[in-house]
Amino acid sequence: MEKVKLKLDPKTKILMCILVNIPAYGIANKNFLLPFIFIALGMLFYNKLYRQIMNYLIIYSFLNIIKLLTPILPTVLVHMFGTLIISFEMFLPFIAYGMVLIKTSSINEVAISLDNINAPNFIIIPLLVLFRFFPTIREEKNAISESMKLRGVNFGFKNFIIHPYRTMEFMYVPMLFVLVKTGEELTVASLTRGLGGEEKRTYIKDVKFKFIDVLAISLFILLIWICFKMKGM
């Protein structure tokens, strides 16, 4: 028999994403966040996502190195990076759990999981479309830049300062056209698959809220509670 892989329900992962913000914003000492980040990295490791772990560690160490170097760096740079690092430090844990959510469960599973608790269509569809379109926007941006280069339009920082309106127009108009068209195609495609019908849809994949999810969430809340207790000491 094949070894059964431990798998958390996407709902659990979403809940973890939300819960991890409580210690991230509630505790000033950022060392308390290390266990949370460690758990997320462990989950990535379990799913063999080594590249993501590397990327995360690079960002993490980069921020901490800058933080250590601040006494030596010139004040201009400190001013530039200070605000950025403060806000980044707060949402680093969230990034880790977001990575776990996006990389370990497919969009399909998230949809099934939300549909199981009878979440209404007007929550599920916009949310899923939003996450589906972030990569598309990046792709389209690169494609538009390429094709605009042929016509001698460069989307550099310099052009943005000299001709702000024109640069914006050249970027926006094709981008919005593409997005609107893709949206229409997506609508047709999803209507064909029976989205928005009266009947409840059935699924091949089995995504259920199991005992392990309850266990994971309770342990997570316990950890947050311990962190807040330790802080007081």
């Binding site: 994403c17 939300i18 913000n21 409580i22 991230a24 914003y25 000033a28 933080k67 601040t70 006494p71 004040t75 400190v78 001013h79 530039m80 200070g82 605000t83 950025l84 403060i86 806000s87 430090e89 707060m90 949402f91 969230f94 977001g98 269509n121 007007f122 569809i125 916009p126 949310l127 899923l128 479309v129 939003l130 996450f131 589906r132 379109f133 972030f134 926007i137 309106y165 914006m168 127009e169 926006y172 108009v173 981008m175 919005l176 056209f177 997005l179 609107v180 893709t182 949206g183 229409e184 997506l186 609508t187 999803s190 209507l191 989205l195 928005g196």
Partner: protein, 194 residues
Amino acid sequence: MKEKMEIKDLISVGIFGAIYLAIFMISITVVGMVPKIYFFAGAVSSLFLGTIYMLFVSRTGKKYSILMMGVLIVTIMGLMMGGLWTVFVFGYGVVIIAEIIASIGNYKSFKLNTLSYMVFALFPFGVYSAFWVMKDQMLEMSKPYGDIYVTTLEKLINPTTLIYAIIATLICAMIGSLIGKKILKKHFEKAGIA
């Protein structure tokens, strides 16, 4: 007009929400590099986002469409940038007001849409409010960056800056929606997708 939101409109909400968030994030990161104008990032981004908002309203002029997109954007932004409760309370309030204003004009009146966008563009202040609510914690966290940085931040966190930033955002949002109208008229109405 009492039409229900269809699948097509829900997908539009997702798409426009995605591009709105993407451009908002880019501008806020670029502007956030300079601490002196950190609180004006919302103003700068609202210059660019007016076009998207106007196109969205003109494409899905249905009840609750603005509310839905706003709640989506505020929730995601709140989770990613600032988990403080003020983000959600302030953000949702702003979005509801924007929805009511636009619905008075049936989502067709340009003046009311502009007004609604001006209110909508204020939602980033939910994030900034963290600086006022948790002022002491912020200042403590910035200690490792040297005394000069702390004093700069302390000077920045005062009510006058907040008022200036809000006024700047309102004005920029108005200009942004005018730009949006111009672009819509020049390109999208001709193609029949506005």
